[in-house]
Symmetry: D2
Subunit: 431 residues, 4 copies
């Protein structure tokens, strides 16, 4: 969380505007869970996935812990045990349920978690009415809480997908969208980006996370970026060329995984008699060749690039390019579209423009997720928000079809371990 | 499954009687799940526990697989994937969901499983109407299916207890029963049993499992058995004497577990400020000193006996004694009572009689679960029912408060690994 | 350890006889290690195997701990850390090196361990000279120490085999013996044994382990035993009939192992271009069809019997039969022969006699290793010798080609978990 | 391996000079193992450690595989199985012994490995005599082989230390050196380094590894570096301030390790009655307060810096500073000194100079080990030398007391996972 940059413009954020924004974001979390049955909300089929019930409760716990307990006089906790049950990873806030056990605890049931949400929302609205009397720190944590809930919305979308995928019934979360049929996308074009000393990191008056600061200078050489994402068709060439059987393209630890986990394609791909299929939020469907490839690990993204004789961009290159090309959310696929699947580039897309930088899939970079020069962890429990994860992970940029559009920006740094595949991750090539 | 002993008396088992019995047993499984929420029915907090939803479906799969597919002309499967989803351990019947993954599959939901039950029950009633036209093997498998469903009722009761226990909220499955307060039970008395050559194993005209056969002779020396179960008060003496801290009383593999699992008391015991409590089907309650100790592993039962300078009976001794004392279900606590907790012996119980042999808790014996002389595995898939488990486990006798009264008999052989504690297991001493 | 039976006849055991016997047994341990290089004596390629250096030291530690410290006035420990380093499993004697770490500790080196042996032997000879002045307990523990060292000689032989087998070089421990070529053995004959009430357990004036007591009565039905061991040729039929690919013959836990460990033959069998070979103490050699099959687990022995429609004997049957047939070591292969491989039955062996009961291979029985009726653990550290292992293992009878001939008797109970294969274990069928 | 930079100056490297250098480096490996017993050379007490016997053989395998087989006409392999036994991680060269099994294979014994070295050395000298007739690639791989053997010399020194440390006897590898007693070192001074665009990476005519290329520009801000390493005295303050008990200073994955591994001090530190001791190549000795702290993981180095409110340098900063300060090996402690322990800074060291940059301990940087811009993996098996490790590890700079002085340079990039502690790793602070 940024403590130096004002999270919200004081003028604009009247109490009513804030209440409306708060309610909209809170409703969005509930809306995402509406297609689920109670059974879906409690299971945890792998360690990275949290039960939807847990997400709904944990985001609520955040408001209760960091705002209601701090600022609302006389606030009574909804339930004394919920602090233990729904803390995620804050050592500052005491012991908590072991992460691996999140999916074995059936109580409180979903209905109690919804009651918890209602109770906290009601009190939050009381608190928001008092806003003018509260210190500046209140507005900052409020904004952080909204961003935090948006982050969990993306996790809800991807965790739900994983949960439903484990059933042999391949149940659909929603109906298949009526989509434009795109037979093929234009060949990727190389766009040059001038190197030199650039400044990266967040600048401006809105919100940013602390990991986007301090703004600082970097040097990069001239480079070129492909003007669109790698497609399923292109990735299929790698598969069919034996990419998953040849160690030469792989990082050593990636190759170990390919062998021990028997990886032969991206996550959710299944080869059936009549060809490759993918599990999606609308069930099992044939691979759409024109769509961007997704659910690949860093290892797969990197091996694909090696096989092509190319490379992934660094996060510095990505941000410089995004600014250079004036990337905007326009045309990107975000959570708000409800598509929950990256979309093919339009066949008539301008080959001189750089497309799909924001939305659709998170783009793996070949940059370790480390603190920027000048980074300082915040004091208190919220200092655990980002800083303690800044090793052993890689940066992804640009947001995905599960990211709220209002949540993304070109300085945004997402991060995952190199082996993770259950997020909407994809590939853009550089050279 | 017994293939030599007629499972039912042909004369008595008119079609209508059978339908009534079938319906009663099927209803009992559903009744056990009625207090559950859908969330409770899907989780698997440890490998030994199966989700209640799975039990409800698997018992139904049994009828579909072994009877409807075989005998009902034109029967259509409820769903083609259920054979994969709800097979337990029958290699003969193809691949199946990995046991460890039973608790991560949220679909089909509970409501579909109930629809599955209704569908199968309706067709089973059709099939039962045809009974007179069916071969003898039909009646045998029918009986086995009823017994099988009763076995899963006991597992439902104990798995539900474990599932609810994992929540810090300690939710109650049912209200606490209005129970007679028993301050203390009479001192245990030693009852002599004459040794010599005895015959054990099932004899008669009703049903028995194949593992109760062949009936065969054994020799035992004269021995004595305590006339009641070990109580919580007695076991507490072991705890307070440092029993869990002294390797001398323990089997080596048991002592390793005590240390690695940090066992300090039976499963479900929690020490709070005001003393020892137990988690039960009616929530967390203070230890009732007069009640039989339960949820102990063989290791704990054996260590307790060692500490007393006594021993556990063999299964042969147990069966000989039960016959010698004319053990009946009378006075025992069974599933039908809905108490789901072993009950204290009445203070005025006759000290010359042997009590609590049937019901209340399964009594660990110091006998390996091996085939009896003359045992033969049945042909076909049902040959996997018992035979392949006949090594590395120990026999328990007598049934528990979660066993249907109509399911138990003195020749009944239950079996678990020495470390298991989630069943209603207890201790009776011999010398 | 027997505490009730005098371990040695007082009259015969003059001091000099004892010294001679002590020296002979001590020399035998060293002789077994003579072909080894220091490197061979330190490694532990699997948990069950101990480094030969450890065996040499642990057996020495036994004398130091249980006799020299107790009975030799003014005895100085060879090294203060050796009690920690070379304790095996005696909780009574304090902490010790974790079993899994025995093979990672290179110091003390082998030469120090030999110096330790020399030092302890010298003091033991001093102590033996004082024998007449020592209490009866001394003679008992002395005898136990000799038996203990003989047990470790068998482990040395089998552990060395396993250690050498892990090298792709397949190094030979010794030259191949000049052996009679046996083309085929006579067909196995069934010999009847009359049932009834028999008495088993040790009786007499020599030494026995405490687990051979108390002598007690058992009832068995009439049965038949094969008059020789199962051969490689016979076991090969099982392999070639797909025995390792068909779950029907296997215990469930055995079948899990077959699949996870990819078992396709006994331990040490390797299929090469020109057929099956075995690793032996004399290197890699073609399977000798007439020799008894060895290095099979209980699971394999039992599956083989199931496949034949037969069964393994119980330990009671084995002992009754051995006494009935007057089994003697005569004609058996023992450690003293230095062959270290079970030998084929002579082609002209009398078909009316029962052969190979003692020596050659340990015969798996279908009896759990439990305490006999009346068994009592000894007091003190030596009470841990046998009693704490009496669950979850199976009894083997008869000794093997790695057992000292003077160590075996028909009441001897060896015991291993059902999955163990690195001992010289084999199969005799019953029905 | 660099393929673009000539590894050796053709003029200087006459055949005789090369033979002398080859022999000197080969002798050094053997010299390092001279204090060992055969038992020490075969064990592998943890996965990161390789048995010394394996190092001696693997370095020899390198010469045989990459030079003798390629370039010496008529060369006969020493042993056909050694390619399998002593390949480290080259997938290009076929299957190999599982890394975890290196320490369980006692054969070939050490003496055979020495014979292998002699055989290969003799043939290498023949080959070196033919040098003028060989292609340029020969000289490159020759140089790489020498550097490779020097890398394994460092591993030999650190692996031997770990192996000996596992014995409770704390055996000394060598006698304690006669060392200057240093009561205290001067307070650390901050030295400024001007930022801006700098060029880093190898430049010149000697050898470098491929990971030091391509030479490229980077931008850094002005920064300051401490002019010496962190000492044991300083690190002890962190310990005594509860640094190992407070999650706030730690990366999340580091804190998990602290708890699960019970870390309370650097590796090899043991608290005894009279204070902290360290295991060293000369046995267990009291902590020398003035010496640089060593055997810390990245997590500990980073937590220490966090606790001080400071940070670790990036690898770019380190290299820029080293060039800025004109770092030379002068005054550093290297393998050639045989001290095998980092040395305290002289009390009269010039506070305006930057000390201990080369030698003594590897300095953790907060830079991921990634490919430099323009990096290309070499073709063939040697392309696996570095490239496939370029993710999930951190860069260390400067060499240590176990690094050959002729092996280090300021562009040298060493790399380890953040949790590794068995190398001579240490801390230098930046701000």
């Amino acid at each position: 969380m940024s403590t130096t940059i004002p999270a919200v413009s004081t003028a604009a954020a009247t109490s009513q505007v804030l209440v409306t924004r708060f309610q909209a974001i809170r409703r969005q979390s509930v809306a995402l869970c509406r297609p689920l049955l109670p059974e879906d909300t409690v299971v945890q089929p792998m360690l990275d996935v949290s039960p939807p019930k847990w997400h709904l409760a944990h985001t609520t716990w955040f408001w209760e812990t960091f705002l209601l307990r701090e600022y609302l006089p006389g606030y009574q906790l909804f339930h004394p045990d919920y602090a233990f049950l729904f803390n995620s990873y804050y050592n500052s806030l005491g012991s908590r349920v072991n992460r691996a056990d999140r999916g074995t605890i059936s109580r409180p049931p979903l209905s109690d978690v919804y009651a918890y949400r209602t109770y906290v929302d009601k009190h939050m609205e009381q608190l928001l009415a008092l806003q003018d009397t509260l210190p500046a720190a209140f507005a900052e944590v409020l904004e952080l809480g909204l961003q935090h809930e948006q982050q969990h919305q993306e996790l809800l979308a991807t965790d739900i997908k994983y949960i439903l995928s484990t059933s042999p019934l391949a149940p659909a979360y929603q109906e298949a969208p009526v989509q434009r049929a795109v037979a093929a996308v234009p060949a990727a074009a190389w766009l040059p980006v001038p190197g030199g000393v650039h400044t990266i990191g967040f600048e401006g008056t809105g919100f940013c996370f602390d990991n986007e600061l301090a703004r600082h200078k970097v040097y990069v050489d001239d480079f070129e970026l492909q003007n669109r994402l790698v497609t399923n068709a292109e990735f299929l060439e790698f598969i069919e060329a034996g990419g998953y059987q040849n160690f030469r393209y792989w990082m050593g630890e990636g190759w170990d995984l390919v062998q021990s986990q028997h990886w032969t394609a991206p996550l959710y791909w299944i080869k059936q008699d009549n060809g490759w299929h993918r599990f999606t939020h609308h069930g099992l469907v044939p691979i759409e060749l024109a769509a961007p490839v997704t659910h690949v690990s860093f290892y797969e993204a990197d091996a694909y690039a090696q096989w092509r004789g190319l490379r992934l961009p660094s996060e510095q290159e990505w941000e410089i390019a995004a600014r250079h090309f004036g990337a905007t959310p326009q045309g990107g696929t975000f959570l708000e579209s409800s598509l929950l699947d990256p979309q093919p580039l339009a066949p008539d897309a301008d080959p001189t423009q750089c497309h799909q930088l924001l939305g659709d899939v998170w783009e793996w970079t070949y940059s370790a997720y480390h603190a920027y020069p000048g980074y300082q962890r915040a004091a208190g429990a919220l200092g655990e928000y980002n800083g303690k994860f800044m090793v052993n992970q890689l940066v992804l940029r640009g947001g995905s079809c599960a990211t709220p559009e209002s949540h993304i920006r070109i300085t945004y740094r997402n991060f995952f371990h190199a082996d993770k595949r259950w997020q909407f991750t994809g590939i853009r090539l550089a050279r």
